[in-house]
């Protein structure tokens, strides 16, 4: 087959949604360095886009769109539909609001025209089930889910329905919006930027970068514009929307000629029936997002702690065989395979008060491990391995401070590491949380799979490291790494931002060794190693922040 014919065949499969990973690799090979092939690819994809434009349910004529948005009715206040063209209400609405309204009318229409995966409010179930994760369960307080389903904090959630019968849960969508669910609430996770609320109550906090998050309800679609709002849907479909901060737009995407309205902080509307064309104004009385969280019990979850090393040993030198305290270990500390002593004793050195702990966490104030200049690595077996071959979520944390030396010629690159390895395949797949001398946090998961944060952390400061491992029996494993510096407040629930995260890694490793390693000089301190099943087990803040 000629390259041209091969490219045509691959483009056919791409159009049909039938492109395998091998096909994609070959497609890249054909495109790489071949401008003619690239031009053909772009022609093909442009045609695909234009065909979707032409046949996306309604013919979209760009010249007609401005006319459409100008004609869209847009009342300035709830339940007062006034044609946008009528200038009499303009003094009451800022120019920005008018613009946002027009834009949102266009966006809702555009989305309705082009997003078959985002069904209209009339649809009952998602039309497309995507196995990829779209959200994370950050927090669950006294939750009972329908059909005895069990969800754990940190669990990744795919496109799917969620039925919370009782309790309070917090989700973060991958698009950035955080959502508090109060049971009983039924919703469908539709995508990383949208959800459908069938019944119950959601409080959404979407930072500016998450603007555009959409909540579909029986009565209306609500599009956030960088804000905080509450949506409640009753069993009969009655829908209430209250804006707590910022602005939202709401409208009915299946009816482009219907109104798209803007609602600001302190405004609320209610549809008494789902099909009611216009809502009525209601007072805003919903609690704020932070208020809901502060009412929830965000206390430490020591019950979900699997492994703990507080280094509660006598000050001074402690023989390795006697360094056998803590929880969840399969034996005492030992010299790591391959580590050299350079004439020094293998003992642990225990010191105290070497860290500056500004956080309301346990640890870091009493005895801790010192890694002097000649220290290389010590390891300790876990009682139970961290299994990447089974579905599970693990969190790991440690307190540390390191005075990073400058790199020297012919010496290993200075770095400190907390590593999980397999004793049966020591140099195989691992989960390495690494801080090299250039102070950009790294994940090193196997040869050729190193992920480096674009951010630099402060030198010689006490740091709180938190890692997250999302293990999957099938599909990609996900590893996350976050380094908090002295000036940063710890999050009481899992944050949206990590310094670095992995992509494209699948492993079946069983990691049963924990190593604390330092390369090339400098002194480092470690304390309070924790591994647990929840953010709150390894970031044990005493009070919600």
């Amino acid at each position: 087959m000629s390259k041209r014919a091969e490219l045509g065949e691959l483009l056919r499969r791409l159009s049909d949604g039938d492109l395998s990973p091998e096909d994609a690799a070959r497609l890249n090979e054909l495109l790489h360095g071949d401008p003619v092939a690239c031009e053909r690819y772009l022609d093909h994809l442009t045609l695909e886009a234009h065909l979707r434009t032409e046949f996306g349910g309604q013919r979209l004529d760009p010249a007609a769109l401005p006319e459409f948005v100008r004609n869209a009715a847009a009342p300035p206040a709830p339940a007062q539909r006034v044609p946008l063209a009528a200038a009499r209400w303009l003094p009451y609405v800022t120019a920005a609001a008018v613009g946002a309204l027009l834009l949102l009318a266009g966006l809702l229409t555009w989305q309705a025209l082009h997003d078959p995966a985002a069904p209209s409010v009339a649809a009952e179930t998602p039309q497309r089930l995507d196995p990829a994760s779209v959200a994370t369960l950050l927090f669950a307080d006294d939750c009972q889910w329908a059909e005895q389903e069990k969800f754990v904090e940190g669990q990744r959630l795919a496109v799917r329905p969620l039925k919370l019968q009782r309790g309070l849960a917090v989700l973060r969508f991958d698009g950035g919006a955080a959502v508090v669910l109060q049971g009983p609430t039924d919703l469908d996770l539709l995508s990383r930027v949208s959800t459908r609320l069938t019944s119950g109550r959601l409080t959404v906090r979407a930072p500016e970068e998450a603007a555009g998050f959409t909540v579909r309800t029986p009565a209306s679609d609500v599009v956030d514009l960088g804000t905080e709002f509450c949506v409640a849907v009753e069993r009969n479909g009655a829908t209430e929307l209250q804006v707590l901060e910022g602005e939202v737009a709401y409208g009915k995407p299946e009816s482009p000629d219907d109104s798209v309205q803007l609602l600001r902080a302190g405004q609320g509307v209610r549809y008494d029936l789902p099909r009611q064309p216009s809502p009525r104004a209601v007072p805003v009385n919903a609690p704020r997002f932070a208020e809901l969280l502060s009412q929830a019990r965000t206390s430490p979850r020591e019950d979900l702690l699997l492994v703990h090393e507080p280094f509660h040993y006598p000050l001074g030198r402690v023989p390795l065989a006697e360094a056998n305290g803590g929880l969840g270990w399969g034996g005492p500390w030992r010299l790591s395979p391959g580590a050299k002593l350079n004439g020094a004793a293998p003992d642990l050195t225990i010191v105290e008060a070497k860290l500056k702990i500004n956080w309301p966490v346990r640890g870091g104030r009493g005895p801790m491990l010192e890694a002097p200049a000649d220290y290389q690595s010590r390891s300790r077996p876990l009682a139970e391995p961290i299994r990447l071959d089974q579905d599970g979520v693990y969190y790991i944390s440690v307190l540390t401070r390191w005075d990073a030396p400058a790199p020297a010629p012919n010496q290993p690159v200075p770095a400190i590491r907390m590593v999980l390895r397999s004793s049966s395949n020591f140099n195989g797949d691992r989960v390495m949380f690494n801080l090299p001398h250039f102070l950009r946090p790294q994940l090193d998961l196997r040869n050729g799979a190193i992920f480096t944060s674009p951010q630099t952390v402060a030198a010689n400061e006490t740091q709180f490291w938190v890692g997250k491992i999302v293990a999957r029996r099938q599909g990609e494993d996900e590893i996350f790494f976050r380094v908090y510096g002295e000036g940063e407040a710890l999050d009481s629930i899992e944050p949206a931002d990590w310094n670095v995260q992995s992509t494209g890694i699948q492993s079946d490793a069983q990691l049963d060794l924990l190593l604390l390693t330092k390369f090339a000089g400098g002194t480092c301190y470690w304390d309070e190693v924790r591994i647990g099943k929840s953010w709150r087990a390894v970031v044990p803040t005493e009070k919600a922040q």
Partner: protein
């Protein structure tokens, strides 16, 4: 913002088909591309003050879209990314250069669609309508998936050829 809101909205609205084509070319998954288009539109609106009237709106919009594409790719599973980074960078640059003329291609396509036999047009309609798929089409037609796929492939080749001819002739086919 130096121009009126209405002018900006007109720019944004007019740019939608080309912007959509730009994003889909770089992120050939229409659900992901739709998310990115929506994020891009909101950023364009928020950063409207950065747009300099008199410069190319679509060039600026493509720049913004590119950052959203990169950001989206960072969050996607690696095995769901079709394009490698190096190929992506070239395609992004090239498609941004072409963006000014993508409207012409859309206009040419419309002329070409009118010349298609009714059966072919109907097949495209069913395939590219929301929720349409080759598999569903094959089932409803009682044909094999491979057969429908090949028919669609031939129709698209015919359309591409027709668009090229129209472009070369400088007309709308």
């Amino acid at each position: 913002m130096h121009e009126t809101k209405d002018e900006f909205i007109t720019h944004l609205t007019m740019a939608q088909p080309s912007l959509w084509a730009y994003v889909l070319s770089l992120l050939p998954d229409h659900v992901a591309a739709q998310d990115v288009l929506q994020e891009t539109n909101l950023t364009l609106w928020r950063k409207a003050g950065n747009f300099q009237p008199g410069t190319s709106f679509i060039a600026w919009a493509c720049q913004v879209a590119y950052f959203h594409v990169l950001s989206y790719r960072r969050r996607m599973r690696r095995d769901r990314l079709v394009l490698d980074d190096s190929v992506l960078a070239y395609l992004a640059e090239r498609q941004a250069e072409r963006a000014e003329t993508l409207d012409n291609r859309l206009a040419a396509l419309r002329g070409c669609l009118e010349k298609l036999p009714e059966a072919s047009r109907r097949l495209l309609q069913e395939r590219y309508a929301p929720g349409g798929s080759v598999k569903d089409l094959a089932e409803s037609d009682g044909r094999s998936v491979a057969a429908v796929s090949q028919v669609l492939y031939r129709i698209r080749e015919k359309l591409l050829s027709c668009i090229e001819t129209a472009q070369a002739a400088g007309g709308m086919a």
